[in-house]
Amino acid sequence: MKRFFDEELNTLRSHLSLMGEKAIEQLRAAIKALVERDRGAAEEVRRNDDILDELEVKIDEEAIRFVGLRGPVARELRLVIVGMKAGHDLERVGDEANNIAKRAIKLVDERPVKEYVDIPRMAAMAEDMLRDALSAFFDGDEAKAIDVCQRDGEVDKINKQLYRELVGCISERPSTTTAAIELMFVSKALERIADHATNIAEEVIFLLRGKDVRHTDEIKKTQ
C-alpha cells in the first residue's frame, strides 16, 4: 500500500544517488588531475568537496526525521539506516578524492617516479566497485553486491604490490622518496575507496537480507 510519506524515501534515495554521482565525479577528476599533472584541476576537486559534505548532512537530516516522525519498521527501517551509512561512506570517498587531489598538487613539482599504470587501474577498479555497489542498492541486486565484496581483495593486492614497488624505487633512487611516499598515499586512498564501496555493498546485503554479513565468512561461502 502506498503511503503519503513514500515520497520522503524517494527524496532520500535521490539524494543518495546524487551523492554517488558526485563522489565518482570527484574520484575521476582527482585521478585525472594526478595523471595530467594539472594543479588547477586538483584544486577544483578540493573546492568541490563541500558538495558531498552538504549532501551527507542533508541525508542524515532526512533519515533522522523519517525515523523520528514516520516510525519505519522492517525493510523501510533498514533502508533509512543503510541510506545514512552509505551517505557516510560516500562522504569518506569524497574525502579520499580530496586527499588524492592534495597529493596531486604536491606531485606537480616532483619528478615522476614511474609511469602511471597501476594507479589509474586501481582507480578504475575502485570506481567500478563503487558504481556497482550503488547500482546494487538502487536495483536491490544482491548478487551484484556480493560481487563487489569479492572484488575488494584485488584492489588490496595491487595496493600491496604498488607499495613494494615504491619502496624499491626509494631504495634504488632516494631522490624519488617524496614522490614515492605521495604515491603510496594515493594508492592507500584508492584502497580505502574500494573499502567504502565494499561497505556499501555489505549494507545493501543487510538491506535485502536483513542480516549483517560484516566480519563474517558469509560472502566467502557464497563464492
Binding site: M1, F4, G68, L69, G71
Partner: protein, 287 residues
C-alpha cells in the same frame, strides 16, 4: 460526525436550496501553505470546569488553518475535553462553564449571537468508534443535507460522490451505495463517517482517536486520508498513538493534568522537546 437540523446556508459546491447566515470565519486561503492564518482556532487564557472540577487550566493555544494539530497526553489530561470545546459538544453536559476565550477565525464560539447549531455545522466530528446510522451508505453521507432540507437528487448525488471521493472510499463502494452501511469493514465505516462529516462542507474536522479501533492497514488509510484532507480542512486530532501523532500532524500539543505543557512543530516535539515531561511522555516512559 455532527449533524444538525437547521436550514443553514449551503456551501457553493455542496449544492442545495437553502441559504441562511452561518458563522462568518476569516480564512486566508492565499497562495502557498503557511500563509494561512496561524491562529485559526485560538484558546486564550481558557479554563474549563465540570461543575466544581476544573479540567483545563489557562490554555493558550493557537492552531493554524489547514494544518493537522495533534493533542496528546495521558488519559484524563483534558485533551478530549479541549477538542469537544471547539464545537461546544460539552455544552450538552450539565454544570459546565468556561473562562477565557475560544475563537475560530477571530470570532468567539461563545458569541451570544452565534447559533450553536450553525457552529457545529462547520465543524465535522469523527469519533473513536465509527457510528454509521442504520441506513444505506448513500443515506449516511447525505444525512446532514437531508436534515437541512436538501432534496434535489442531482445535488445529493454530487455530494455523495464528492464526499466519498474525498474520504478515499468512492472506488470501494460506488457500486453498492444503497447497501447498508453496516456491510462495510471497520476501516470503511470510519471513512464513511469522515465522508458524512465532510458532506456538510465544514471548515474544521475534529477527530477523537479515529483509528484506535482499526487494524494497521485501515489505520494507514485513515492517516493517508488525514494528510490529504488537510489541503481543505483544519484538522484537530486526539490520539494516544505517538507514532500516529508524529506521522500525521504538523503541530502537536502535549497536555498533562489539564495544563498545556508544550506546544510546537511536531518535528520539534518528537525529536527535540523542550520540556522533560514531554520527552518522557513521547518516549513512553511516563503517562
Amino acid at each position: 460526525m455532527d449533524t444538525s437540523n437547521d436550514n443553514s446556508e449551503r456551501s457553493p459546491d455542496a449544492g442545495g436550496e437553502v441559504s441562511q447566515p452561518r458563522m462568518q470565519v476569516e480564512r486566508q486561503a492565499l497562495g502557498e501553505r503557511g500563509t494561512y492564518r496561524q491562529d485559526y482556532i485560538s484558546f486564550l487564557n481558557y479554563s474549563f470546569f465540570y461543575g466544581p472540577a476544573q479540567v483545563l487550566y489557562d490554555i493558550e493555544l493557537a492552531m493554524p488553518d489547514r494544518q493537522v494539530t495533534a493533542l496528546i497526553g495521558p488519559s484524563g489530561c483534558g485533551k478530549s475535553t479541549l477538542l469537544r470545546n471547539i464545537n461546544r459538544m460539552n455544552d450538552l453536559i450539565d454544570g459546565v462553564r468556561h473562562e477565557g476565550e475560544l475563537l475560530i477565525g477571530g470570532e468567539s464560539v461563545y458569541d451570544p449571537h452565534l447559533e450553536v447549531i450553525s457552529l457545529r455545522k462547520q465543524i465535522g466530528m469523527v469519533f473513536q468508534k465509527s457510528n454509521p446510522f442504520p441506513k444505506s451508505i448513500y443515506e449516511n453521507v447525505i444525512y446532514g443535507l437531508r436534515v437541512a432540507g436538501r432534496k434535489k437528487k442531482s445535488v445529493l448525488d454530487e455530494a455523495v460522490e464528492r464526499s466519498l471521493r474525498r474520504s478515499a472510499l468512492w472506488d470501494e463502494v460506488k457500486d453498492r451505495l444503497h447497501e447498508s452501511a453496516f456491510s462495510l469493514s471497520g476501516g470503511q465505516m470510519q471513512r464513511l463517517c469522515i465522508a458524512r462529516a465532510i458532506a456538510n462542507d465544514p471548515e474544521i474536522i475534529l477527530m477523537d482517536e479515529p483509528c484506535s479501533a482499526l487494524d494497521p492497514v485501515a489505520t494507514g488509510k485513515i492517516e493517508d486520508l488525514i494528510h490529504e484532507l488537510k489541503e481543505n480542512y483544519t484538522i484537530v486530532i486526539v490520539t494516544h498513538n505517538m507514532q500516529q501523532a508524529a506521522r500525521v500532524s504538523d503541530r502537536t500539543a502535549f497536555f498533562y493534568l489539564g495544563k498545556l505543557v508544550e506546544y510546537g512543530e511536531t518535528q520539534q516535539i518528537f525529536m527535540n522537546p523542550a520540556n522533560s515531561q514531554t520527552e518522557a511522555y513521547v518516549s513512553g516512559r511516563f503517562g
